[in-house]
Amino acid sequence: MLQITDLHATVADKPILKGLSLTINPGEVHAIMGPNGAGKSTLGYTLGGRPGYEVTGGSVQFDGQDLLALEPHERAAAGLFLGFQYPVEIPGVSFLQFLRESLNAQRRYRGETELSGGAFLQIAKLKAGLLKMDLDMLKRPVNVGFSGGEKKRAEMVQMGILDPRLAILDETDSGLDIDALRVVGEGINTVMRAPGKAVLLITHYQRLLDYVKPDFVHVLAGGRIVKTGGPDLALELEERGYEAVAA
């Protein structure tokens, strides 16, 4: 599904990713862990096409397409979902309007018919319910006045509504208390644990992995993947630290 080969990327001319390779197949959950400054968020933003994250080498194939040739909104329409570590506030635009525009823009891009207001609202209600979020929350402006935990939960509701093939979730567990962590973990499983879908979790801590069992755990350090293992690797990292394990 996703094939990253020898990816190099810079931010403000500073090399951050230095030859990262990773293959994700349908049905798999991958976790990328690593110390601060390893390039974890840069990987997410580079795959999402954020301006300022410049690819200087390598390639990324997504479902057989050259992902890097697509504009950010086209990547989303192609089935890529980027969950933000710091979801952005958009004053004056309600979540419902934002998500309906998002979903219909994706559908237009894929040559599908747009959803009516009623049909969209049904989906929104269903997906919000899965994440235990009151639909009234989605009438409020995007992320404005939301607590850290609510923002992350709202990210998962968005993921549920947009129904992507691949979700890249950047520190989705940060800022969550234990209850919210469980809701978010279960949300990821409900929405993304399906045969044709895959998840890339970018995380500092192993605690989210208690809820979302990864098939593979990778250690990112110095802009490359330096070690790959199974779920046990996360536990080992937690116990011994990045330096000892990745050395």
Binding site: R50, H73, I90
Partner: protein, 245 residues
């Protein structure tokens, strides 16, 4: 015989950023008198549309305990100027909600002078301007609180969004206060569309032109919140924004 007033020059503060060449054929501008009798409520909507230059000048008197709600949408294809002087009596209430949408080489401007002549009057001015291309959007607004006009509550919220580096916004909210017990606030900001917001929208599949439209629509809507004609104004503003983008 009264002499026709000469065309203003840029030396006059209120015309400092005006497009005088476009103003000349409209000069002198007839003053439209608006009087809201004591205790009454009036609303007014001004929409500058079409492709011709427009200049309007209002002299508003809001009598004791009366309310006047003025909304302005400047979205014509040429020079547009709305100038007003509002005098507020005791306990009067005045609201100005204005949006200016300028593109090309256009100059759009709003010039206000709000006089709190007596105690306990409230004035709220919310101006939201968008400029692209080489256009300019101006707001020159003075709130004058007369001696003895205690309990005055005056607010000016002025924001402009520039779509291109070649566009200009001039904003000058001003306060002149001769009373002791007053609450006056003014805020003024000129900026660009939030790049983080645009990327966030793109990451959800929204193409850049739609993302910009959504953000600008929300920005402009602040000027029309609570207006009697809110929906109609928003619809016209949206059509103008779509033409701009």
């Amino acid at each position: 015989m009264r002499q026709v007033a000469a065309l203003p020059t840029r030396a006059q503060e209120d015309f400092r950023y005006a497009d005088l060449a476009a103003l000349a054929p409209l000069w002198p501008v007839a003053v439209e008198q608006v009087r809201v009798p004591a205790g009454e409520t009036q609303t007014m909507t001004l929409v500058l549309a079409g492709s011709a230059a427009v200049a309007r000048e209002l002299a508003v008197t809001v009598e004791a305990g009366a309310s006047f709600d003025l909304r302005v949408l400047s979205a014509n294809g040429a020079y547009g100027r709305v100038s007003l002087r509002a005098e507020l009596a005791q306990g009067a209430n005045f609201t100005l909600g204005a949006a200016q949408l300028a593109s090309g080489e256009q100059v759009l401007e709003i010039v206000t002078q709000v006089i709190h002549a007596a105690p306990d009057a409230v004035s709220r001015q919310i101006v939201r301007s968008v400029a692209g291309g080489r256009a300019s959007v101006n707001y020159l607004g003075k709130v004058l609180v007369a001696k003895g006009a205690n309990g005055t509550d005056g607010e000016q919220s002025v924001r402009a969004m520039l779509l291109d580096r070649t566009a200009t916004a001039n904003a000058r909210p001003e306060l002149e206060i001769y009373a002791d017990d007053v609450k006056c606030a003014h805020g003024c900001a000129v900026g660009e569309l939030d790049a983080n917001g645009l990327f966030y929208m793109a990451a959800r599949g929204i193409p850049p032109e739609v993302a910009k439209r959504l953000m600008l629509q929300a920005f402009v809507a602040e000027a029309f919140a609570g207006a009697e004609q809110e929906e109609a104004l928003l619809e016209q503003a949206l059509a103008a924004l779509e033409a701009m983008l």
